[in-house]
Symmetry: C2
Subunit: 520 residues, 2 copies
Amino acid sequence: MGIVRVGVAYMKLKVTVLGINAGDKSIVVLNDEDAEELGVRSLGRVSVSLGKKELVAVLNTSKHVVKKGFVGVFDELVEELNLKENTLVNVTAAEFPSSIQYIKSKINGRKLKYEEILEIVKDVVAGRLSRVEITAFVTSLHNFGIDVDEAARLSRAMYETGERLNLNNAYIVDKHSIGGVPGDKTTLLLVPIIAACGVTIPKTSSRAITSAGGTADRAEVLMPVNLNLDEMRLVVKKTNGCIVWGGTLKLAPADDIFIQIEYPLSIDPMLMPSIMSKKKAVGAEYLIIDIPCGRGTKVKTIGEADTLAKDFIELGSRMGINVQCAITYGEQPLGYTIGPALEAKEALEVIMRKKNVPDVLDKVRNLSRMLLEMIGKDGKNMVDKVFKSGEAEKKLREIIFEQGGDSEIKPEDIEIGKYGMDIHAERNGHVIWINNHRIAIIARAAGAPKDKGAGIQLYKKIGDSVERGKRLFTIYAEKAGKLKRAKQVLEEEEVIYVGDRREMVAYEVKKTSDVKPSNS
Amino acid sequence: MGIVRVGVAYMKLKVTVLGINAGDKSIVVLNDEDAEELGVRSLGRVSVSLGKKELVAVLNTSKHVVKKGFVGVFDELVEELNLKENTLVNVTAAEFPSSIQYIKSKINGRKLKYEEILEIVKDVVAGRLSRVEITAFVTSLHNFGIDVDEAARLSRAMYETGERLNLNNAYIVDKHSIGGVPGDKTTLLLVPIIAACGVTIPKTSSRAITSAGGTADRAEVLMPVNLNLDEMRLVVKKTNGCIVWGGTLKLAPADDIFIQIEYPLSIDPMLMPSIMSKKKAVGAEYLIIDIPCGRGTKVKTIGEADTLAKDFIELGSRMGINVQCAITYGEQPLGYTIGPALEAKEALEVIMRKKNVPDVLDKVRNLSRMLLEMIGKDGKNMVDKVFKSGEAEKKLREIIFEQGGDSEIKPEDIEIGKYGMDIHAERNGHVIWINNHRIAIIARAAGAPKDKGAGIQLYKKIGDSVERGKRLFTIYAEKAGKLKRAKQVLEEEEVIYVGDRREMVAYEVKKTSDVKPSNS
């Protein structure tokens, strides 16, 4: 598609290099009066040309910073047109990209065709749309709700505009958790188990956004995770599996941009396409999706989880991916550790059969079994076999080695923050609930996930009996100052509630709270 | 409301002055790694403090431009905290303003209470919300539709956060057109007529956005319109009326920000609150709203116009403003001129009774009559009397004088662009339609509204019989280059269609157009 100039007025303007990179790819700033002369308003489009090169940029206007006769340009444009201070360029009004028409259709409630969605996603990736336009699109998807048709079209468009792994292995399987459970180290165990069974699992993971650690953060304690697509392919070819960070692979680059909009609004209309496009990009044919359910997770009730699961399965079938979902218990952290190093250590101890952590083992075993059963294998026995024989541990060490880590690593080699603080029970009773969200906040305050050794070691979980004065958990930090901050955060709100089992009133609602921060 | 720090981590960072003003009031840029350390993502909030001064800003992140240990600041923050290059400031994560909770409620389809809307509008005016958040709010208002309750709450909130005229006159009346008709010079005639009848009409008008001229642009040919609120009050006290530009009066400052979002999305959910808040701010008790109806205007059908009119009347009654609406014919330009100078000249000739322009006179007389009847006067006779006696002309000259213009101005003093080009009919027939939107585009290409003398003089209007070779219209421009451009634009699409009266097929739809720019 060529650049469509509106052609009402042209101006020759001098370049002012603004020296800033806005994240948005192409922004230019004009003086208010020049913009008026061109007949373009802020967030309209202008074409900037030098010689034969021409680019369309989003316009911002300014009264003072950019003087009449000048055009302020951000870094991306400086590079692409090879501009210098005072270079003379031609500036003219350009038409909005045609994808804006489709965004307007969506704003007005229309269901979009595949070609329309593809055009929008292409322009998002190319930086041709302003934040206002992308936000209107994302908000409208949320407001009207996306059905499986649109989810499938979005998934395909996000996949078509990204990179691909291109493996030719027989069965390619994958696993994804929609998240929300602190301390979920399932992937660190599931990947080597599946790979040890001879099945290919090219796993990409994310880093923490608001949690105390994503799988990529945990895995990084054991091995490098910043691999590129070629390196990832090589590891998978050698070991059947990998655990790498998906952030720089550009498997679905539109997703990274949509997330920037969704995060501050706490909405997630792209949940399904975001996951499925990336799974398609690694070539997954069999996929298990973990939907943790409970207070503090994304999905609060079994009913909601069930609906979501069915949508995932339907979407999968349209994309040629065989999907099954596991709705899992998400009311409390998984295992006894939260924070990258503590979790990596616990995972290593479990896979080495040094420690028996029942909930971790149960989840890992069942999800692995389901995946293997999907491809017609005797999942339960295979999992037990590779786990008990030590083949799973051996496979993890192979993966660590191929990704560039120390394959001889022992649990005691993993450094935990040297500053610790014990929290004791103030009464006798049982653990009635654990606030997942506060656990994450405290671990973050202590430095996780950036300080890998920071986190929380739990001693008691829901239902456990507790004695006054005994330890409930320990907070670890790498820096004394951060431990102090974690202590302050700890004092703001209860994190583990110890009470009597017969207590029936959870919370008293007395009046509408005007400002109630949402954790959803 | 104090600043709520999330308090997980503090950093001492050095200031990098970025030298740019983004329109958004408070933006800071951090290096990705520092942002991660603080636990804040792009578009999250950080508090920046120096000594006792503390401000909350919206965060942008960057990989390269801002180095680790530095915080890049935009101009507004530099001024407010009195920062210099390398000043050490404290940076920490801050909570999102509470109004974001209400925006999230709206995104999830909830109807908002007045206090919630007020909080949002306050934060919009204070620059505490990011473009993403404001866009999500505006888009959701559009998607869910605003009812009269919310329109009333928004109107009140926008009025409460703005300036007020505070007149104590007996009857204060006002007039507003929702626009869309090129060449609509009604206000230039209506204001002096009403004022000459002894009734107060403190009229504020807008400049053109996408049209060839707003009322403020037209009026500026006759007199200065950039008055402040005190100057405006003085003119009204002396003459009963005024025609000033509303753009700098800050009668509803939130509206200026909402418009920046609405314009690129071609949505207008704030249509009613935007108008009504400003009318309330000048103290209007009686208001007539002109709803032009036809192709190329905002409202396409009489049915839509009727619904909108009833909503305006209901909204008015809740705000203590007596509203009546006139649904007017909007299929073609009003009068024979488009462009500031041409229109001002035509208006002056009409009010001086030198020229009889039937559609202009009919509209002005009827709208004036309606306004006067609303306050119990014999509108028809009063309008005829002040018009025929020359009192209306005298009143216009008084207003021109008080606003600082030449009260002796004659039509022939008004300069029209010296470059002209006649467009002739290519066949015999009748004018079947005139494309309002193309008329505006051509006039803009010729230089309007910035070049006041640029525009279009029509000789034929809808239904007029046309002879081959006779002039249909003339395009005027102040600069030869712009006339040439107008000619190019003219050739792209038909603007005045001459045909036979019996022609029944308007347009043939053959297949879905993939890229159809919308003019709505």
